[in-house]
């Protein structure tokens, strides 16, 4: 093969180059601060594995604080909550996970249906509003988010905004509205519209929504599109707006939030919850971790974090966020959301 002789020096050089990069990487990696604190006590009281679909930095801060307080070493598996829920379903009782920290009730509900979750210690459940946790007592609410209408402040529509989520079906919104129906927080709103309007009314509402709206794949894309004026308004959870503001800088924000009234199907507060896996070999430590998540120090971390969710422990407030009465009385018992999912598929939004 004629090319071989020339190839080898090149391949050799490339390999040498790669090794240098690797070695340099290892070299500079060593002195870098490790994720886990070097304190000897961490791990002395056992270890825990947490599957987390939550905001990575906030969970990192919570875990570090918990480790220092208890000496329990925590391994965090961060991912998309739906991926993690599907993974837990595949793993069944063989899962290495002790705790699942989710983003929305449906992913916890589906695991509960399969009897994969253990009962949460009553004293933990008692710390947060009763409505913020699972009716079965198998997961506890940790933080909350409010559904809101985000609108572009430069658009002429900014003055006559819809006052109810039901108004989103009005024909004058055609082409000005954005939705992200594949996001897990869209289904609960649909479930509430079904409750308010009945099935047929909800079908009519969803069909009109399909005609009016541009469909986005995620709340992140939707809020970015509203902020730059691609669509005039859209439905998102409040924290997306704050996270976007953090990233683009206040000077580049061309949008604002408007909350629906708590009585409106769109005026809902949803929670992020945590659960202990029934198959956990470290039940006591897992319960300890979940109890910690709703304790005052943890809720203070939530209240000052970049995740911008509302803490649920009474008495702890995120002073940066507007007060929201719904936080004291969130809506989590919305079933498994199957009817909403079927309805969205029926009208072709999904």
């Amino acid at each position: 093969m004629t090319s071989r002789r020339q190839l080898f020096p090149v391949a050799g050089m490339a390999l040498a180059g790669a090794s240098v990069i690797l070695l340099a990487g290892c070299g500079s990696d060593a002195p870098a601060p490790a994720v886990k604190p070097a304190s000897r006590e961490v791990g002395s009281a056992g270890t825990l594995t947490v599957y987390s679909g939550q905001h990575q930095q906030t969970v990192g801060a919570l875990v570090q604080d918990f480790q220092q307080r208890t000496g329990i070493e925590v391994h965090v598996r961060s991912g998309d909550e739906a991926d993690l829920a599907n993974q837990l379903l595949e793993e069944g009782s063989s899962t290495p996970a002790d705790v699942f920290f989710a983003e929305n009730p449906p992913s916890l509900g589906v695991l509960d249906e399969k009897r994969l979750l253990a009962a949460i210690t009553p004293s933990t459940l008692a710390l947060v509003p009763k409505a913020a946790s699972s009716p079965t007592g198998h997961w506890v609410g940790v933080s909350a988010r409010a559904a809101a209408l985000v609108y572009n402040t430069d658009a002429p529509a900014a003055r006559d905004l819809p006052t109810s989520v039901l108004d989103l079906e009005k024909p004058q919104l055609k082409g000005r509205l954005g939705v992200a129906p594949s996001e897990t927080d869209f289904q609960p709103v649909v479930t509430r519209v079904i409750a308010a309007r009945g099935h047929d009314g909800a079908v009519a509402w969803a069909s009109a929504l399909k005609d009016n709206a541009k469909v986005y794949d995620s709340n992140e894309s939707l809020i970015t599109a509203v902020n730059r004026g691609e669509v005039a308004m859209g439905m998102v959870d409040h924290y997306y707006w704050y996270r976007m503001r953090d990233e683009v800088g206040a000077g580049n924000v061309h949008s604002a939030l408007r909350y629906f009234s708590p009585a409106d199907p769109g005026g809902m507060v949803d929670v992020s919850g945590a659960a202990v896996l029934a198959s956990s070999q470290h039940r006591a430590q897992a319960q300890q971790f979940v109890a910690y998540l709703v304790s005052r120090p943890a809720q203070q971390i939530v209240a000052t974090s970049e995740s911008w969710e509302y803490p649920l422990l009474p008495g702890v407030q995120d002073m940066r966020l507007p007060a929201n009465a719904g936080v004291a009385d969130p809506v989590v018992d919305l079933g498994d959301g199957r009817e909403a999912l079927d309805l969205l598929q029926q009208v072709g939004l999904l």
Binding site: M1, T2, S3, R4, Q6, L7, V10, A11, A14, G17, A18, I21, G25, S28, D29, A32, P33, V35, T49, Q56, V76, R77, S78, D80, A82, D83, A85, N86, Q87, L89, E90, E91, G92, S94, P96, P106, S182, K214, V215, Y216, D217, S218, E220, S221, I223, R228, E230, R243, D246, E247, V248, G249, E306, R338, L341, Q345, Q346, G348, L349, L350
Partner: protein, 524 residues
């Protein structure tokens, strides 16, 4: 799923002499080994079938008759057709300009035109959207996918042009055929196999991709599968829909075969360089077109990474975690590359040296996994490992195994292309001198194959280093790669913090890509 595929060689440039020579029957150990390899590679497909069967006919009919399904199918088919066609046109056109004309800056272009392979598609997608929000829908998906994927056609076609004998072209010229006629009647047929191989890889990638299209606001059939996973938590329904993708994958594989992707045409090495076509007054236009191609395919994603590193408020620099994730990604990629390449060798040997319906089927079946969404592959591996290979679950070894299953086809394509150029007569001679088949393989074939094996390893490592979906499911808890960190930050809108991970992904991938182009350029 980040697809990576074809290679320096075009696939079926098997020598007619080799095909015509009376072949020895395949050694039983080789056949059994390849059957075992194929069985492991088909596990995800089997997993999908088993899950899908549990759905039942009524639910299946309901799922397939949902109102959005026809639109999604149409989107998948039209996008696959459009992107493979444009990739073929751009790939062949660019390869012809670089290999057969007197275009200036050819050596530089030969590298720049392959470098988009170093940019993971999801990084390219985010890049286009953040710089040019209007790039979305069908047009956006077509544009972004074409500019990310055309190198998979360019690479094998350029290699085939470099190898092919210029004599035919000279004869056509002496008979008075103009450049266009010669291109259509001589050049194009000579690169058809390479071109089809490249478009097959592109097509299979498009069937299974989800994340990049989501960013571009274009919904394909994979969307319906993801809806079942993420909103329904219904792996069975998702698997049923995945079977539809499998079927489309089989059609693509069959189509490529029918169109002559396996034609054995003379793959004679060029004894001399082809006379280059003088572009003359067309030179500036051609150069401009190539510059535009480089800017669109490379400039936009790289520019957007730079933009976010400067503009984004969040930052992860300087950070030990970037270094840690880089080391993790590179080690994982290297491991997967070594194993996938080693396994590709026996499959290539069996299919090329001992062609039979069995060996052809085994070889073809290895490509099918590319039509499955990464989440389907990942969850099947999770299911098998957690219940039957518990000690391996969430180990680095299992993640590597996942990469091997996902990217084996890319390695196989490269090894086959290289093996097709090693004369079988050399092995026959070794055997007639008393070597066993294994001895002949080890002492004659493998040494001649080394550049092809290196190319295969480069392609696999390139893909494994930037894989996201299966990595999230299979990695050991606590292990973060460049791709998972990029994803975790972008999903929190922290583009500034995500950008360094994208930058390192592109930089580290550039090493194997550069290696690929050097292999291609090496001449006697």
């Amino acid at each position: 799923m980040l697809a990576r595929a074809t290679l320096t060689g075009g696939r079926a440039a098997a020598r007619p002499a080799a095909a015509a020579a009376p072949r020895r029957p395949a050694p039983r150990a080789l056949t059994l080994g390849v059957v075992a390899i194929a069985a492991v590679l088909l596990l995800p497909v089997l997993g999908v079938v088993v899950q899908a069967v549990s759905v039942g006919p009524r639910r299946a009919a309901h799922l397939l008759s949902l109102p959005l399904v026809p639109e999604l199918l149409r989107n998948t088919v039209t996008l696959t057709a459009a992107v493979t066609a444009s990739c073929a046109a751009i790939g062949v056109g660019a390869a012809w300009l670089v290999e057969r004309t007197d275009l200036p800056l050819r050596p530089l272009l030969a590298v720049l035109l392959v470098l988009p392979l170093a940019v993971p598609e999801f990084v390219a997608g985010s890049g286009w959207v953040s710089l040019m929000p209007r790039v979305q829908g069908f047009g956006g998906a077509w544009l972004v996918m074409t500019f990310s994927l055309y190198p998979w056609v360019y690479l094998p076609v350029a290699a085939a042009l470099r190898r092919s004998d210029p004599a035919l072209d000279d004869v056509a010229r002496s008979l008075g055929a103009g450049p266009l006629r010669r291109f259509l009647r001589v050049t194009l047929p000579s690169v058809r196999t390479a071109m089809l191989g490249g478009t097959l890889v592109v097509g299979l990638y498009l069937l299974a991709e989800y994340g990049t299209f989501a960013v571009l606001r274009f919904r394909t059939f994979a969307t319906a599968i993801f809806t079942q996973y993420t909103l329904g938590f219904d792996a069975a329904s998702a698997s049923l829909l995945t079977l539809v993708l499998c079927l489309m994958g089989v059609l693509l594989l069959g189509g490529e075969y029918a169109l002559g992707g396996r034609t054995r045409h003379p793959g004679a090495r060029a004894a001399r360089t082809a006379t280059r076509v003088r572009l003359g007054r067309a030179t500036p236009a051609a150069l401009l077109a190539m510059a535009a191609l480089v800017v669109l395919s490379l400039g936009v994603p790289v520019g957007s990474i730079a933009y976010w590193m400067i503009r984004g408020s969040s930052t992860t620099l300087p950070s030990g975690s970037v270094v840690g994730a880089t080391v993790e990604s590179l080690l994982l990629g290297a491991g997967a590359a070594a194993v996938a390449t080693a396994l590709a060798l026996p499959v290539a040997v069996l299919s090329l040296r001992h062609p039979s319906p069995l060996s052809n089927t085994l070889e073809r079946s290895a490509y099918l996994v590319r039509a499955l969404p990464g989440v389907a592959v990942g969850l099947t591996v999770v299911s098998v490992a957690v219940h039957h290979l518990r000690p391996l679950y969430q180990s680095t070894a299992l993640l590597e195994a996942g990469y091997v299953v996902l990217f084996f086809p890319l390695g196989l394509v490269a090894v086959r292309a290289a093996l097709a150029r090693v004369p079988a007569e050399l092995e026959d001679t070794a055997r007639s001198l008393g070597e066993s088949w294994f001895g002949a393989l080890r002492r004659v074939t493998v040494p001649l194959l080394l550049p092809g094996l290196a190319a295969a390893a480069a392609l696999v490592s390139l893909s494994a280093t930037t894989e996201l979906t299966a990595t999230l499911l299979l990695r050991p808890t606590g292990v973060e790669t460049l791709a998972t960190q990029f994803w975790l930050y972008t999903s929190n809108l922290a583009y500034g913090a995500a950008a360094p991970y994208a930058a390192v992904m592109v930089l580290t991938s550039a090493v194997p890509v550069f290696l690929l182009t050097r292999m291609g350029l090496a001449r006697s």
